[in-house]
């Protein structure tokens, strides 16, 4: 039975639409009633604002994930405890107060989250591919290990076992490294003590099966996060320079309105949601260049140019050939230059901006985002002849569309030698 297009959203409809993420909203489409409810909300003066209000609150809830590590407090449990809790093998009586603690603690909460992610029994497709390519995934390797272990009968732990086809050769690690007490401090950790409680408790562990229906999994994808940032950029474009992948949007304010003084309540919900995902992504992959880049973009959105530079430099060290990191670094230097009080520092940042953009364009002369950004930088530096050359080149490559319209307008300003607004 189809929904009456004129009727206001029911509480269930409102809750369902409000709780969905933006990406889920866009991806969904199988439920015609849901789509009709959404269509109604978009055109209704009562339900539309109400739904936006609910979605804004939902984004705030999602953004409450602890973004950074907090300081350890005196009553925080030992860090190793969280592994046993996450594995479901701690006694319930011990786990209960610890979970209550974690739910209130910005130091222990992220540790628990990290442990649950590490011990997640579900293996992603990417992980499966990685594991499949390991020498140890081969039947021969496994058979050889089993034979060697049982042949030795009491093979000392830590001693390398030669296995066919393995890159792990006996003796590749030094004797010191492979000695159990040094390489694997398991002796101190005590398997014997561990089993006293682990086995019976693990046997009683409650393990649930089934999939999430509407609650988004907390393992975000980097691409969806970057999409959220791109959407936020297009909706409330915070800076003059472009991010790769972001559609055109008018610059939201005069320079200076962005930055730390701007309230987070003013930020688009997509950005808040992206920041929550970034916190989760970095907790799981703290040295992943992609998540560091996403963090930097969010930092740039909020006017934290220095934090963005720090993250991007770390990411660039991991992926030195990644042109998109150079592009974002250029933007971060440019933004820092805009707030620098020291003229020398400002000049240095502008030089770094152009150096990064030139490096990208040397390799990819037709990179539209780099070309657009360099033209914009030249224009703001009042180097109009260079700006005009870049704008013309840009318009040859991208003659139509909203970015092209912006380029045409800026070309006109450069040709006039001064802004016309």
């Amino acid at each position: 039975m189809s929904r009456d297009p004129q009727s206001h959203l029911s509480p269930d409809e409102l809750a369902g639409l409000a709780q969905e993420t933006e990406s889920a909203w866009q991806a969904a489409g199988a439920d015609p009633n849901r789509d009709q409810a959404k269509a109604h909300a978009e055109g209704c003066g009562v339900c539309g604002p109400r739904l936006r209000n609910h979605r804004s609150v939902q984004a705030r809830l999602r953004s409450m994930v602890s973004p950074v590590a907090a300081e350890r407090k005196r009553d925080c449990p030992a860090e190793e405890k969280w592994t046993a809790i996450a594995g479901g093998v701690s006694p319930a009586a011990e786990a209960k107060p610890m979970l209550e603690h974690a739910s209130r603690c910005d130091y222990c909460g992220p540790l628990l989250r990290a442990a649950t992610e590490d011990l997640d029994p579900e293996i992603s497709a990417e992980e499966e591919e990685f594991i499949r390519q390991l020498p140890s995934a081969g039947a021969e390797w496994q058979r050889a290990l089993a034979r060697k272990m049982t042949a030795a009968s009491v093979a000392p732990a830590g001693e390398k076992v030669a296995t066919p086809g393995s890159k792990t050769e006996p003796g590749r690690l030094t004797e010191k490294e492979t000695r159990p007490s040094a390489h694997w401090p398991l002796a101190g950790w005590s398997l014997a003590n561990w089993t006293l409680w682990a086995a019976p408790v693990a046997a009683a562990a409650v393990v649930a099966v089934g999939g999430a229906i509407w609650i988004e999994r907390s393992s975000p994808s980097l691409s969806s996060t970057n999409q959220l940032i791109a959407q936020a950029y297009s909706e409330q474009r915070p800076i003059d320079l472009r991010f790769p992948g972001a559609a055109y949007g008018p610059v939201r304010q005069e320079r200076g309105e962005s930055g730390p003084s701007r309230s987070r309540m003013d930020e688009p919900p997509q950005l808040l949601e992206a920041e929550a995902q970034i916190a989760r992504g970095l907790a799981r992959h703290p040295q992943d260049a992609g998540w560091l880049q996403a963090k930097a973009r969010a930092d740039l959105f909020e006017g934290h140019a220095q934090l963005a530079i720090d993250a991007l430099q770390q990411a660039a060290a991991l992926r030195p050939q990644d042109a998109s990191l150079q592009l974002d670094l250029a933007t971060a230097y440019f933004e820092r230059a805009g707030t620098a009080r020291d003229p020398v520092q400002q000049a240095a940042d502008y030089a770094l901006t152009l150096h990064s953009l030139n490096a990208v364009l040397d390799k990819s002369p037709n990179d539209l985002v780099a070309l657009f950004n360099r033209a914009e930088v030249y224009q703001q530096l009042k180097e109009y002849s260079e700006a005009v050359a870049d704008w013309r080149r840009y318009l040859q490559l991208d003659p139509a569309g909203e970015w092209a319209n912006a380029a045409k307008r800026l070309l006109g300003e450069s040709q006039g030698g001064a802004p016309t607004n």
């Binding site: 809750a15 973004p67 390991l134 272990m149 792990t168 401090p185 649930a208």
Partner: protein, 205 residues
Amino acid sequence: MSLEELIKACAEGDDPAAWEEFIRRFHGLIAAVVRRTARRWGSDSPELVDDMIQETFLKIYAGRRRLLSAFKPQHPEAFYGFLAVITANLVNDYFRTRHSQKHGSGQPEASIDESTAVADAAATNRPAEDVFRNLQLGEVERALSSCIGGVERERDRTIFWLYYRDGVSAAAIARLPSISLKVKGVESVISRLTRCVRERLCGEH
């Protein structure tokens, strides 16, 4: 061979076929846990992961009587959790030891400390956001308090905050000891409380 039979065979004997089956069956789980845990320390090369997988099986074999004999799995997943915890502890211990050795010798380090440097810098540079966040947490806590009740009040509160503040997934929450809910049950608690809190914060109740 059932899981229970396999565990019994491995605990009581040195049958290569049983151990080969054990390795085959649990290689994927152990490899995934090794890789994730090692990655958190900034080092997850295939060679290192393979070394640690082998080391984990060796440790389990060396302690097979103590580890496996006492185990009476009522659910296969309980044994998976058991193995996953062993594996994660081994990997973490390895990196902690290596970290402390490097630290002691004054060598340059690549560790979790470095990986959190950016976050630490953010922490010190964002006091205004911390104040904002604390205000927001307080506001939500007040709304939440008006939404929960009954004997499971504290459990539901814990679930809500583990999900929203700590970022633990519903599936992971369901696996935690003392929660005693399946995934759908956890999702139901989160959904109910979220809806109530949202209505409170929107001023609708």
